[in-house]
């Protein structure tokens, strides 16, 4: 049995603040020191089993990949971005704070939308989060999105969808 832990902070050379995430000691936070120090218990001794760090980025990427369809996955593999179709146009996810939006009526905008406390999430979780919102509640996505036309200043959401998709 291998217990998991999460690195919360790098405290300096050979020292990490970690949180044990599985087993009876789950939730315990402690400082992990590289190497062996006489008199200091090993983490495995504290937990009672062998331990290994959690690959948060790997976990998040596996979730994201499972949510992508074949076309999106090919785009992700080739470009590191992927498109999501919405009732108002196409959104391209994959660049933080710089989401491209091509309205059905033409033109283009840059959008900025993030999950709450997004800096605490692995990057792929951010894209999984936004992908699902775009699928399940796209109006909410555009309601909160800050937006910018090329060469103009940023505007606070909502995105003016009716105006953008009005055929002139």
């Amino acid at each position: 049995m291998v217990a998991g832990y999460l690195v919360l902070d790098e405290l300096g050379p050979g020292r990490q603040l970690i949180r044990i995430t599985t087993g009876e000691r789950a939730g315990t936070e402690l400082v992990l020191i590289a190497g062996y120090l006489p008199g200091v218990p090993r983490l495995a001794d504290l937990v009672g089993e062998e331990v290994a760090p959690i690959d948060a980025d790997g976990v998040a990427e596996r979730l994201l990949l499972s949510l992508l369809d074949r076309q999106q996955r090919a785009e992700w593999d080739a470009l590191g971005t992927f498109c999501v179709e919405t009732p108002w146009g196409r959104v391209r996810l994959g660049r933080l704070y710089d989401i491209a939006f091509k309205p059905s009526g033409g033109g283009g905008l840059r959008l900025c939308v993030v999950p709450d406390d997004h800096l605490s999430l692995p990057l792929c979780d951010i894209w999984a989060n936004l992908l699902l919102v775009l699928r399940g509640d796209p109006a909410q996505f555009f309601r909160v999105a800050n937006w910018q036309r090329e060469g103009e200043r940023w505007h606070v959401g909502p995105v003016p969808l009716d105006q953008l998709n009005r055929v002139g």
Binding site: D55, D57, D69, V113, A128, L130, V144, N146
Partner: protein, 77 residues
Amino acid sequence: MGTMRILDSSGDTAVAWELDDLEAVRAAEEQFSRLVTRERRMAFARPAGTAAGDSELIRAFDPTAEEIIMMRAIQGG
């Protein structure tokens, strides 16, 4: 078996239940309600492993769902 995946700094944390384990179902439902009401999380149910196009936004805990993914609320960045 149903699984609820809660996005967090470790990627996600999984909460699992069997339909005939009423205590586990109740615990998962309580956690679902807490996440939706206190943290404004959005919940999506999907048959396990299927693409986002097959997911469904849900407002109430569904113990028969194969997988529920608890997303965070979103905001302009």
